[in-house]
Amino acid sequence: MAATSTPPESPEVAMIRVRRNLRYYLDQGFYYLTMAFALAIAITLVWIVIQIGLTAIPAITQFGLGFLTSTTWDPVQNIYGILPQIYGTLVSAIIALVVAVPLGLGIAIFLSEDFLPTYVTTPIAFAIELLAAIPSVVIGLWGIFILIPFLRPFYTFVHRYLGWIPLFGTEPRGNSLLTLGLVLAFMILPLITSISRQTLVSLPPYLRQGAMALGATRWETILRVLIPAGFSGIVGSIMLALGRAMGETMAAAMLVGNSNRINISLLEPGSTIASLIASQFGEAGRDQVAALLYAGLVLMILSLIVNILAEIIIKKFQNVER
C-alpha cells in the first residue's frame, strides 16, 4: 500500500500517511474481530454437535436407526426408542402452528394497517412482544393451575359431541398433547406476530398505492398484494416459531403428561423429545445419558430439516413473484 515516492516527503504528507496507515490497521482489526465473532458462533455449534455426538455414540452403535422406530423407553433394562417422542414433538408443534399462524398473522395485519390510531396499536404490539419475555417455567405453572382447569369444560364438551372423531376419542385428562399445543401456540404467537408485522410495515408504500390505484379494495390489497409480497418474511417467522415449538422444554415437560405412548387422541397425554431429555437427564444412568443425547441429536436434525424446508419454500415462492 505504501506509495513509492521519489521526492522527500513534506510533514503534511507524512501525517496523512500515518493517519492512513492507522485507519488501515483499524479497519483490518475490526474486520478480523468481527470475523472472529462470526466464526466463534459456527465453531461453538460444531463443537456442541460433536460433543453430543461423541457422548451419544454408545446409544447410536447399539440402537442405530431402530431408535427412531421403537416405542420402548426402559431405563431399567437400558432399551431405548423415541418414536412416541418424535410423534409428540411433531403433533404438538403442528397444533401450535394451526392455532398460532392465523391468529398471529391476523394480529400482524391488524397492527400494520391504520384501523386504529397508533396510541392504541403501539401498546398492543408492545404487550405481545412482552409475552415472549415470560419464562417458560412460569407459563408451565400457569398452564397447570389456570389453563387446564379453564379448558376442562371445553375438553369435556369436545369429547362428548365430537368424540366420534378419533382425535377426540378418549375421556379428557388435563395434561395432554392438545394442552401443550395450545400453550405452545401462546408462546410462539409473539414471534409470528412481531416478525410478520415488521415485514408488512416495511413493505414499499408503492405496492399499496398501486393496488389502490388499480381499484382494489383494502382486503384485496392485503390478501393479494401485501401478504404475497411479504411472504418470505412471514414464512420465516413461522419457521422460527416452529423451531421454538419443537425445542420448547420446560413448559412441555410440565404440561404434556410425559407418558411414553402413541395415541391418536389429542386428549391423551404424550411426550416430546425435549420434555423427555429435561425430565430424565438429572437422574439418568450412563447408557441412559447416551440415549438422551442421541434423542437430542435427532431433535437437532428435525430442526435442520424444518429449516431447509423453509428455505426451499421461500425460494420457490420468491421465484413465482419474479
Binding site: D74, P75, V76, Q77, F145, N175, E283, G285
Partner: protein
C-alpha cells in the same frame, strides 16, 4: 416516518426502564452478617428427595453451631450427584439409591477404594388421591398392584369396593399419576411394587417404563395432577402430601394390616432389620406388622480419603451433628424419619475410618 421513529424510540425507552428496574431488583441483596475467621466452604450435590432437610440442616448448623462452615448443596438429582461424586468435583455426594453397577466400578477404579455411604434419613412414599367424599381409602395389595399395572381401571372395581365397605366409590376411570423425571421417590416406590406385585413388568430404577398413567414433573407436578383431576391417584413423598393436604390412602402391609402413613409408621420399617456393612439397606416389604410398607433411606457419600484435613473435620462435624439430637429434631419437624441410635453409632465408626493426607 417521523411518527414511526418516535414510536420506536418510545418502545426503546420503556424497555430500557423495565430492564433497568429488573436489573436493580435482581442485584446483590446486600451483605448479611459475614462470618469471622477462616471460612471452610464445602460443596455437595445429589438427591432431591432429602434436599429440604439437608438445606435446613446446613443452614441451621451455620447459624447455631459454626458460622465458618458453609455448605452448599445442589439438588441436581441422585444420578447427576453420583457422577459429580465419582468425578471428584464435589466434597460429598447424595443419593436415594445405593451406589452400584458401573458407577461403583468406576469409583473403585478411580480411587482404588470403596465409596463410603452413610444413611442420613428415611422417608415414606404415600398414595395420594382425589375422590371427593371418600376418606381413608384402603388399598389392599392386589388393588394397588392392579392400578399400577393397568388391570384395575375403575373406582367401583369389586375388589376396591370389598376393601372399603360403606364408602361410595364412583363409577369413574382411575387415572394413575407418576413421576416423569428420574427420582428417588420413584425408586422407593417401584422397589416396593416390584417386590409385592407378581406381574409388575418394569423392574426397579429411578425412572421406569410405566405401563399406565400420566407423568408429572416433580412432586409438585404429580400433586397438581392429583389435585386437579378427580379420580386420580398417584404416589408422592409423605412430607409433600402432608404439606399440600392431599388425602392419603391406607396401604396393606405384609401382615395384612392397613396402615395410615406417618413418620412413626415408616420408622418401624427400619427397626429390627440387620443393616449390611455398606449401609445399603433396602426394605421393599417390611416384616413389622405396624410398619408402613413403602419407605426408604437416603444416603450421603463421602470419599475414603480427603486432602484437606480441616475440610473433612468440618464435614464430619456437620454429619454427626445432623444425626444427633438437634438434627433429629429438624428431621422430625420436616416429616423425615430420623436414624435410630444403633445405626448412628455404626455411622460414627465408619466415618472414623476416613483418612486425611498429612
Amino acid at each position: 416516518m417521523i411518527f414511526k421513529l418516535r414510536k420506536s424510540r418510545l418502545i426503546t425507552i420503556i424497555s430500557a426502564i423495565i430492564t433497568a428496574s429488573i436489573v436493580v431488583a435482581c442485584g446483590p441483596q446486600g451483605g448479611g452478617g459475614s462470618p469471622t475467621g477462616q471460612v471452610i466452604s464445602i460443596s455437595g450435590a445429589g438427591a432431591t428427595f432429602p434436599a429440604p432437610l439437608y438445606q435446613n440442616w446446613f443452614k441451621t448448623y451455620a447459624q447455631q453451631v459454626d458460622p465458618n462452615v458453609q455448605i452448599s448443596y445442589q439438588s441436581v438429582g441422585s444420578g447427576a450427584g453420583l457422577e459429580q461424586y465419582i468425578n471428584g468435583t464435589v466434597d460429598f455426594g447424595a443419593s436415594d439409591a445405593p451406589i452400584s453397577g458401573d458407577r461403583l466400578k468406576s469409583f473403585q477404579e478411580r480411587y482404588n477404594a470403596n465409596p463410603i455411604q452413610v444413611p442420613m434419613a428415611g422417608g415414606a412414599v404415600v398414595f395420594a388421591y382425589n375422590l371427593p367424599g371418600v376418606d381413608e381409602l384402603k388399598l389392599p395389595r392386589e388393588v394397588y398392584c392392579g392400578i399400577v399395572t393397568g388391570k384395575i381401571t375403575r373406582w367401583n372395581d369389586p375388589k376396591l369396593v370389598a376393601a372399603n365397605p360403606g364408602k361410595s366409590l364412583p363409577d369413574k376411570p382411575i387415572t394413575f399419576a407418576h413421576r416423569s423425571d428420574g427420582s428417588g421417590t420413584t425408586f422407593i416406590f417401584v422397589n416396593h411394587i416390584n417386590t409385592v406385585c407378581p406381574d409388575w413388568p418394569a423392574g426397579v430404577g429411578t425412572s421406569v417404563n410405566w405401563p399406565v398413567g400420566v407423568g408429572g414433573q416433580g412432586n409438585e407436578g404429580v400433586a397438581a395432577q392429583i389435585q386437579q383431576n378427580e379420580g386420580t391417584i398417584g404416589y408422592v413423598e409423605y412430607a409433600y402430601a402432608k404439606l399440600n393436604n392431599l388425602p392419603r390412602a391406607l396401604v396393606e402391609n405384609k401382615s395384612g394390616n392397613f396402615i395410615y402413613p406417618s413418620p412413626e409408621a415408616a420408622s418401624k420399617t427400619f427397626a429390627g432389620t440387620t443393616i449390611p456393612e455398606d449401609f445399603a439397606l433396602l426394605v421393599p416389604d417390611p416384616e413389622n406388622p405396624e410398619a408402613f410398607p413403602i419407605a426408604g433411606l437416603t444416603w450421603i457419600l463421602v470419599y475414603p480419603e480427603y486432602e484437606d484435613a480441616k475440610k473433612w473435620e468440618a464435614l464430619k462435624g456437620v454429619l454427626l451433628w445432623a444425626l444427633g439430637d438437634d438434627g433429629k429434631k429438624i428431621a422430625e419437624q420436616l416429616d423425615y424419619v430420623p436414624m435410630p441410635p444403633d445405626i448412628v453409632d455404626r455411622v460414627k465408626v465408619t466415618l472414623d475410618k476416613v483418612k486425611v493426607k498429612s
